[in-house]
Amino acid sequence: MTRPEPSAFNQSRQAREAESVLDQITDRFDDNPQGMAYFYDLFRRIYCHGEALPRKGIQIGTTCIQAPEELIYAVGATPIRLCNGSYHYDQTGGDFMPAKSCSLVKATLGMLNSENPVPRVGELDLVVNPTTCDQKKKASAMIEGMGYQVHDLELPSAKESEESRLYWQRTVRRFAVQLSKVTGKKMTRKALKAAMARTARAQSAFRTMHNLRKSSPTLFLGKDAFLVTNAFFFDDLERWTEAVETLNSELLQRQEEGFQAAQRKAPRILFTGSPPIFPNLKLPLLIEESGGVVVADETCSANRMLYDMSAVDEWRLNDMVDALADRYLKPCTCPIFTRNEDRQRRLLDLAESFSADGVVYQAFSGCQVYEMEQRSIGDALSAKNIPMLYVETDYSPDDIGQLSTRIEAFLESIKARKRKRS
């Protein structure tokens, strides 16, 4: 692809960070799928050249996947996920949060607080902040302090009980009302139904891609998969879906040709824990550079965001909104919930159906819930004798040397296991 001249903006640290990661993604690996070109280009334009995407209607920022995007689309607005992955913003956001807190939240705050942030979020008429982890809870006041209008989406801290389910349904209904207030558009059955159909199409495209990763030898690498799902944060829904569908058709072709994107014996890794968000694809890249391949993930920047689909019995507004509420709460495996056997079961199922050899568990230092769940997940996996590597890290690049040692050692030990088994 042709790269335009680096703009003045391109000199900024954030852009250089993005640039180098993109180069790493594109150049250090051979035969990336043609279909990925769209996404590589998209990220260059958005993250390196600071282009702003044209949006339909007003923009509504979301700080978490819990905010039902179908509702936002239904009132003619566009959702933009504000979760940010750049070390630069992580540092600038440090003013708001204690040093030991989660990089993701800090980076998000940093981006929102900076003059002309990249990616260009533009004018945000509303920021929806689901009250998930403590740091996000506290963030909402700070975001408000920066002059944004914030809507707290009250999330129950347990999801099993019927009470919490109803409580969450109320929250979502209230959110829908708030949306119509902000946009001045009435939530209609037709619009919501159409919005749900669009998202469903995107989801089924994702699921196809997801299932294609089951095939061994691998058809494409995890870093690309993460890039695709990361693009979902800000890209236009239709365009994204089409891009993914073209990618899928290419991958299907690869499957018929028996194409290998990685060595046949390359350890298949299931990635879980804190979400890899561009440009912080440190860990997935390390894994795949050291000869492993990320075949599946259980993170809120990919699988958890797009996998679960909603079912509606009677296509009337009430039932649709409640169905959406259910889809955003019931299957969610975020560790903020008091009990979380679902996450264990989901991981075991993924490991089994994607024939993963090992699990890499990323926890952003400061993301306590992930740090806390590390042990129980590890036990559950080792019970099924699946090895897990627990990595506590953040956005800073300084531990890359040490991490590569660990990851290589992990991959080597997996290879040794496989050799022993065969």
């Binding site: 209904r173 009302v177 939530m187 209609t188 059955r189």
Partner: protein
């Protein structure tokens, strides 16, 4: 043997029998004369029965004389008697005659489903009149265990073609083993002589309390009556399954000369009797009006309460609801 017994008792009853013969025809009733013999019985779809070996129904009929079924006397008939029985498959079968504590009885068992016809024919010559009385009873045997598929074929009534005069109750519209003759129903009788319909026979219907109504059989031998209500208990004692007997009597006078048992006669009077059961009509105690009003009440009450509940939930608690 039995015959001799009856002959023996004949003299004793000569007097009363005179009067009996004069105006009270014989008929066969399934109402027990006393509680003692009623004790053995239980109600079946075909009226009271006794249970014999292996649960086979036994029907016991008493010979009675008199018009109002309520008062008619239990008697031992005189004269020359012959008894016959047709079973559902239209073939003949034997039935037991006996006299037990001053009461003449007919007993037969009903193994198969359907209608059984019992006949008792009496011939007497009285001041050169030959009286031929045929007391007939039509008894239904049915138990639901046998199912209801066979009902249709068994419904049509049977008769004998060698009976001098016979009454046949014709079926009600779509009558089945469970249907009951009720107040207000119109029942129709067919009068047959030797199996052939006869016109001009005088048919009289006696209800339980003795109320009577007569009509003459038409060309096809039909005579129809409307059953009246003659059961007026106070509500606490009202019994919707209250069973009462009616009695139908047909008379036909013919000027035929001949001699019978050495006695000559110049006229023959044919008499046929047939009892039946009738019950209170459901119209007497069932009410659509109340039924519907209850139903509507339930409907509106519950519907309204749901509606109000929903309104309440929306208003004070600010429950968000969309209306589209």
């Amino acid at each position: 043997m039995k015959k001799n017994i009856w002959q023996g008792t004949l003299l004793l009853l000569a007097l009363c029998s005179q009067s009996v013969l004069a105006n009270a025809p014989l008929w066969l009733s399934d109402t027990a004369p006393n509680d003692e013999s009623a004790g053995h019985q239980h109600m079946s779809h075909g009226g009271p029965v006794e249970r014999g070996k292996r649960g086979v129904f036994q029907k016991r009929l008493w010979v009675r004389s008199g018009k109002a079924p309520a008062e008619a006397a239990y008697v031992i008939p005189e004269g020359e008697l012959s008894a016959q029985l047709i079973i559902p498959d239209k073939s003949q079968a034997k039935l037991k005659q006996s006299v037990k504590d001053q009461q003449a009885q007919l007993v037969f068992s009903m193994p198969d489903e359907g209608f059984y016809n019992a006949y008792l024919t009496q011939r007497i010559v009285d001041n050169n009149q030959l009286e031929i009385t045929t007391a007939k009873a039509e008894v239904l045997k049915h138990s639901c265990r046998e199912g209801h598929d066979h009902v249709k074929d068994l419904m049509p009534p049977n008769h004998l073609s060698d009976i001098p005069l016979e009454i046949v109750r014709e079926r009600l519209p779509n009558e089945n083993f469970h249907s009951r003759v009720a107040y207000g129903d119109v029942i129709s009788f067919l009068v047959l002589a030797k199996g052939e319909p006869v016109s001009g026979a005088e048919v009289t219907l006696y209800t339980r309390s003795g109320w009577q109504n007569s009509s003459i059989s038409d060309e096809q031998g039909h005579a129809t009556f409307t059953i009246i209500r003659d059961y007026f208990p106070s509500w606490e004692f009202f019994e919707s399954r209250h069973r009462q007997e009616f009695l139908a009597v047909a008379k036909l006078q013919r000027d035929e000369t001949g001699s019978y048992q050495g006695e000559s006669y110049s006229g023959v009077s044919y008499v046929a009797t047939l009892p039946g059961a009738y019950f209170p009509s459901s119209r007497d105690y069932q009410s659509y009006g109340y039924g519907l009003s209850f139903g509507l009440f339930g409907l509106t009450f519950s519907g309204l309460s749901v509606y109000l509940y929903r309104r309440r939930r929306i208003r004070p608690y600010k429950e968000v609801r969309f209306d589209d």
